[in-house]
Amino acid sequence: MAKCLVEKLQDCKSFCKNFPDPLLVLDKNGTVLNACEMVKNVFGIPAEQMIGKIFYKHSMYSKSSVLALKKLVKDSYDGKKVKPIDVEAKIGGKDAIIQCYSSLVLDNGESVLFMIFRDVTQMRQFDQTLMESEQRYRELFENMQSGAAVYEAVEKGKNFILTDFNKAAQQSDKIRRQDVIGQPITKVFPGIEKTGFLKALRRVWKTGRAEHFPPTIYEDRRLGKVWWEDYIYKLPTGEVVAAFANITDRIKASEDLKKSSEDIKGERDKIRKIVQSIADGVFVVDKDYKIILFNEAAALMSGYAVEEAINKPYNEVLEFVHENNDRKVVAFVKEVMETGRSLSSVNHTLLVDKNGDQIPVAYSAAPVSGSNGPSGAVVIFRNVTKEREVDKMKTEFVSIASHQLHTPLTGVKWFLQLLLRGKAGEIPENQRKYLEQVYASNERMIILVEDLLSVSRIESGDRFTFEKKPTDIIKIIDEVIEGSVDLIKEFNVTVVKQEEMPKQLILSADPDKIRQVFYNLISNAVKYSKPRGKVEVGYNTDKKNAITFYVKDYGYGIPKRQQHRISEKFFRADNVVAKITVGTGLGLYIVKSLVEAHGGEFWFVSTENIGTTVSFTIPRGIVKKRKRSKQTSRSANGKKK
């Protein structure tokens, strides 16, 4: 029977041969009765080589494949309903997956099995990739940080049914996936209609254009009041995905931030307002010397509007000049930035305003500290016109007082001189002695008045203008010593010049002031020497930029505990007050002020009962040659004999 069928089939060789898919005709043992030419395409074996052999007994099949094929043949012959199976095979050294369809063909009670093979390797690989990619997307969808919900439009987009809902969505919406899938959005989110979200979903579903649904408040019983933000996309499937985030915390944080930044801004505004309303001019520069803050008073004084000044280098807006020489005062801000120390102005500073008018000002500058030293500087300046007026009045008063006090003293002085010189007839010796006492007292009075006036001038910032000119210091020393002969005689001391002193030493200085310095120092040294003591006036060139002068005595000295008070006004040391009644306690104060005004330094070394050395410096500076003025100098305090 089978033979007959085979014969029949052999007759149908052309059918087999031309069958479009690889086909084997098998008996119930799996023996190949016939094969179509196409099998070569799948197995690489010519059809005729397969005929007569059990098709699955071949090394290309794995053990499990062999069993599966054997079972397929058996099941097919047993009349069971069989599905196509995939088997693994190694064809041409490569792994392949072959799909096998079987179909039993009955013919006159005889049956043969038709088995069609298909190489589905690529298809399966593709399936696998697809599956993997789907899995990947699933994972991604499931594990993405933001919530994602997939909706399917129903009732032509009137409502939407949830078809998927990821983990993050479940967490943030406090609801399980199984409770939402298949549910309309309006049921899951009862408050959704108010938000306009449904409309957005509808739009995306209709147009296919993705949309950003901006932060919106959503409220329902389950969730309370929350902030949402969504991105809505349409999938190729026609579904709509909403990727969303509960941004309540973020909004709250940003509100807090906004509030705190408003608080800061409020504070800043408050400080700014305070700075703005300060009656003194205030400006702040950054490290490039550009103005970053400029208050109203600064604007008023300078004539520049705040907005004109901001961001400009400060010296383009605020021109500070020195009163006496019109030289620009610019270094102070630089100095503050470089040293990190605060500075106050010297007197005599003028602010030149926008119109070129000059306003007397006092300023102070302080560094603004940054992480790496000063990051800027704050400068406060104020109009001192009124103070100047008061100063001027004081100066005028001093001037008048000077004049008025000196006038009677001069009268006494001159008539005593006339008397003592016998212009009114010979004077008996005892009377002469008394008159000389009167004369000495009057002289002290004149010095005292002059000292008081000097102090007053120093303090009122009166024009202690220094007319610096080439000055022979040695000549001044000689003149002062010469002018002090009476005093030297009175105290029975010797004043000597250091042997190394040159005959001439020209420095740039104000001769009157230097004379006053030497006069005060030498007369102090003389007065506070012990009888038959020695006073030495000398100099040295130890310092690079200045010449040091000193006046040394071997007298009473200054007690150590009082030494810090030496340059105080009216200070006189305890140990000499009783011994020497002469002295105002103003001399060293004046000396110090004059020396410092010259740009020099002042110091002293003193040991009680050993003596005192007072030193000061005069900067070397540049000595400009100038025609000597005819002006003859007056002796500062001393008498010219």
Binding site: T395, V398, S399, S402, H403, H406, T407, L409, T410, G411, K413, W414, F415, Q417, L418, R421, K423, I446, V449, E450, L453, R457, D462, R463, F464, T465, E467, S629, K630, Q631, T632, R634, S635, A636, N637, G638, K639, K640, K641
Partner: protein, 127 residues
């Protein structure tokens, strides 16, 4: 030889008297004025070889007197040496006086009468 004339413009009579005594003793013809206006008038009339000028004066301030003298028409007047003798001790005043053309600026309180006499002598001997 005729006596040299020293014109003293000084409002304080005590000082005026002291200067007069000192200078007359030294052989000068001393002319005294107690206010700036009359002093200037006398000076412009060429009444002096030397002028001792106070600054704080009634009617006309010493600086004005000096300025007027130094801008006088007559060269002779302009050339009269003027010693300022004052008790104004401020630098500004000294500067101003010298700038206006004074030959010297002396502070009375620190000036001896003899010193003043010597100055007058020096200046007039150079003339």
């Amino acid at each position: 030889m005729a006596k040299k004339k020293v014109l003293v413009i000084e409002d304080d009579r005590i000082m005026l008297e002291a200067i007069r005594i000192e200078l007359e003793d030294a052989g000068y013809d001393v002319i005294l004025y107690e206010d700036g206006k009359n002093g200037l008038k006398a000076a412009l009339e060429g009444a002096a070889d030397l002028i001792i000028l106070d600054l704080v004066l009634p009617q006309l301030h010493g600086f004005d007197v000096l300025a007027a003298l130094k801008s006088a028409k007559e060269v002779k007047v302009r050339k009269i040496p003027v010693i300022i003798l004052t008790n104004l001790t401020q630098e500004a005043d000294r500067e101003k006086g010298m700038k206006l053309g004074a030959i010297d600026y002396c502070v009375k309180a620190t000036m001896d009468l003899q010193g003043l006499k010597n100055k007058v002598k020096d200046i007039l001997s150079k003339k």
